[in-house]
């Protein structure tokens, strides 16, 4: 193995700097993440055209200086729509991942700390959720709950809960009898307090890795659902829908309508995956690939 063991006495910042120097890709990933967040926050205020304004005279223009990414079949500016869509796509995935983080964390901590029946029942439940092909389960949930953006978030959250719960359960379980936990109990802390403030923080580093990887999946998942016509409705700008709309024009050669939203979607997922790998390097040097 070519992994370099890092001396314990190095400070955390030196360690981060070391990992970033060693792997410039991580730095690129964090910059791209900053770009995405900035376009989500300021994008709608900065884009040159109204993402919903149609202009039939200007339909299906290839990319040019006025319309960097061209225009779609209704003459809407693809660039503006792609940038504006960032906010919705990021919101869906962040909300879904935050939900599964919280619910998965709590359930995992219960299963890991108290064990017994709770553990058995929760594990069976997670097994059952994982027994479904996840995208298919998400389709079923959205179909049953109704076709709205909120339900896309819930469906994405539900299919991701087992991943978090498993991580937390394992991390909590191995520390249940640890010395620092027992001393915290002896000092008079309640069980809930011990779990929440003494054990749970130890599970945060591996969870952060999971969060970053999951954000990528969540975006793909949400975009896939809207691609097949679930969740977000046209004319709302959203990457999955825009690719679906562009798909109708690809066979007649108007590639830009589908290409740019697809590229942005790819870029976002790529960023989160790279960040996940980078975070894993920071958190757990032994698992470096």
């Amino acid at each position: 193995m070519s992994d370099v063991a890092i001396p314990r006495q190095q400070s955390r910042w030196a360690h981060i700097a070391y990992v970033l120097r060693d792997n410039p890709v991580t730095l690129v990933a964090f910059s791209m993440f900053a770009f995405l967040v900035l376009s989500a926050v300021f994008g709608p205020a900065l884009v040159p055209y109204d993402p919903l304004a149609t202009n039939a005279a200007n339909a299906l223009q290839p990319p040019n200086w006025q319309h960097w990414f061209g225009t779609d079949s209704l003459g809407r500016d693809v660039f503006s729509r792609v940038i504006v869509a960032t906010r919705l796509d990021l919101t869906i995935s962040v909300a879904a991942v935050a939900l599964s983080f919280v619910i998965g964390g709590v359930l995992g901590a219960i299963a890991g700390y108290w064990g017994g029946w709770w553990d058995a029942i929760l594990n069976r439940l997670f097994d059952t959720i994982m027994a479904f092909p996840l995208f298919v389960l998400a389709m079923g949930i959205v179909a049953a709950l109704g076709n709205t953006v909120e339900n896309i978030i819930y469906a994405t959250a539900i299919i991701n809960i087992p991943f978090y719960a498993r991580v937390v359960r394992a991390e909590v379980n191995i520390r249940r009898e640890a010395g620092f936990v027992q001393s915290a109990r002896l000092a008079g802390n309640s069980h809930i307090r011990v779990v929440a403030f003494h054990i749970f923080p130890n599970a945060l580093p591996p969870m952060m890795v999971q969060v970053s990887l999951n954000l990528g999946w969540a975006i793909l998942n949400a975009a896939g659902l809207s691609f097949i016509g679930l969740g977000v409705r046209p004319p709302t700008p959203e990457w999955g829908i825009m690719v679906a709309e562009g798909a109708n024009f690809i066979v007649s050669g108007q590639w830009w309508v589908a290409l740019f939203p697809g590229l942005w979607l790819m870029l976002a997922v790529f960023t989160f995956n790279l960040m996940g790998d980078g975070l894993r390097d920071l958190v757990d040097p032994r698992r470096r690939t």
């Binding site: 092909p133 995208f135 389960l137 191995i174 697809g262």
Partner: protein
């Protein structure tokens, strides 16, 4: 932080010695297999439970929905009674499970046929696509992963890493559209992306439902090539998507096998690098790869839906999408349930084959 680094037990099954094969071994394997099959039952029950909950979570009154648009009060009440919706939830669940056991998934509003018939009709198309994609992707990913592990740090390794990260970031529906643009519109190599066979050909006589196999059985090579051309792009799209996890797992498993003690021993004993790599290391590394295939199937079954929609492939995925658009709930739920059962059974088969390949694996210990 630092206590995390040392405490985890090494997950290295591979360094254990092979257990001796004796007469007791067969019996132990059989027990292990029946135990594993028994473990599937609670999961299947859970799957049925969740799909029952999904059925009951229909927006609005299910009775009004199933009675149809023109229903009046009386016929809604009649439907409620017929569906057993006026009984307790527990009784409803038993009724539902009973229907499932009889293979009754309801009637599709779109096609007017029983959902089970529809699914059975369309399943071969999906399976043909999925299996072709998996074969393509294994043929590329396994050698790539092995190569990357053997030449760790070389350009092959970097290529593998880029491919792996890019591969998991690719939205399948987007790759499909891109491939259509390049190979259909620009290059003109691929036929128009509309289904399994161009309309000028007749579908081969039904034997297996797989056009590639059926046309060969009929001895019709022209139809075979036409079907293969239609299949190429969607299969490549799916294969690109599954390439990443398989290559990644192969590389990781190969690396851990190559750095283990028995490989060092084999090298020290003077075996050729070729024997060490392909006989000893790869043989052991393939086991985790087989396990990964189970996870890959989950992704593929989901991605199938998107790819079938892009290529107008008449499989169960596009059936479900059509049903979703038309709010044809019975069809959607039948699809979700069928996929889950298929997936559970696939995992069962993978685990069982794993136990048969590797005599060290016993499920009894769990």
């Amino acid at each position: 932080m630092s206590d995390r680094l040392g405490v985890r037990p090494k997950m290295s099954l591979l360094t254990r010695f092979r257990s001796d094969a004796g007469p007791g071994n067969l019996k132990r394997t059989l027990t292990a297999i029946s135990l594993r099959i028994a473990q599937t039952l609670p999961v299947l029950i859970g799957v049925v439970l969740i799909s029952f909950v999904l059925t009951r979570a229909l927006p609005g009154d299910p009775a009004a929905y199933f009675a149809g648009v023109l229903a009046d009060e009386a016929s809604i009440a009649e439907t409620r009674e017929r569906l057993g919706l006026d009984r307790s939830v527990f009784e409803q669940f038993l009724l539902y499970a009973g229907d499932l056991l009889r293979g009754d998934l309801g009637i599709s509003l779109n096609t007017g046929q029983p959902v089970l018939t529809d699914l059975a009709e369309r399943l071969p198309a999906s399976l043909e696509l999925t299996l072709t994609a998996l074969i393509i992707s294994c043929l590329i990913a396994v050698p790539l992963g092995v190569w990357a592990a053997v030449r760790q740090g070389s350009w092959v390794d970097h290529l593998c890493r880029v491919l792996v990260t890019a591969g998991v970031s690719l939205p399948t529906f987007f790759t499909g559209i891109l491939l259509i643009y390049i190979f259909y519109y620009v290059l003109g190599w691929a036929p128009s992306p509309l289904g399994r066979l161009d309309f000028i050909y007749l579908s081969p006589p039904h034997v297996t439902g797989f056009y590639l196999i059926d046309s060969l059985i009929a001895g019709d090579t022209e139809t075979f090539f036409a079907a293969a051309r239609q299949l190429a792009l969607p299969a490549i799209t799916l294969a690109l998507f599954t390439l990443a996890p398989i290559a990644r797992m192969t590389r990781a498993a190969m690396l851990s096998a190559l750095s283990s003690d028995y490989i060092r021993t084999a090298r020290a004993a003077g075996l050729t690098p070729r024997t060490v790599r392909y006989r000893y290391a790869l043989g052991n590394a393939l086991l985790p790869v087989v396990t990964t295939l189970g996870m890959v199937f989950s992704f593929v079954l989901g991605a199938n839906v998107l790819v079938e929609k892009v290529f107008a492939w008449p499989g169960i995925g596009s059936y479900a999408v059509e049903a979703l658009v038309a709010s044809d709930y019975a069809a959607v739920q039948g699809f979700v349930l069928a996929m889950a059962v298929l997936f559970v059974l696939l995992n069962l088969v993978i685990d069982l084959s794993y136990a048969l390949i590797d005599p060290r694996i016993g499920f009894g210990a769990k």
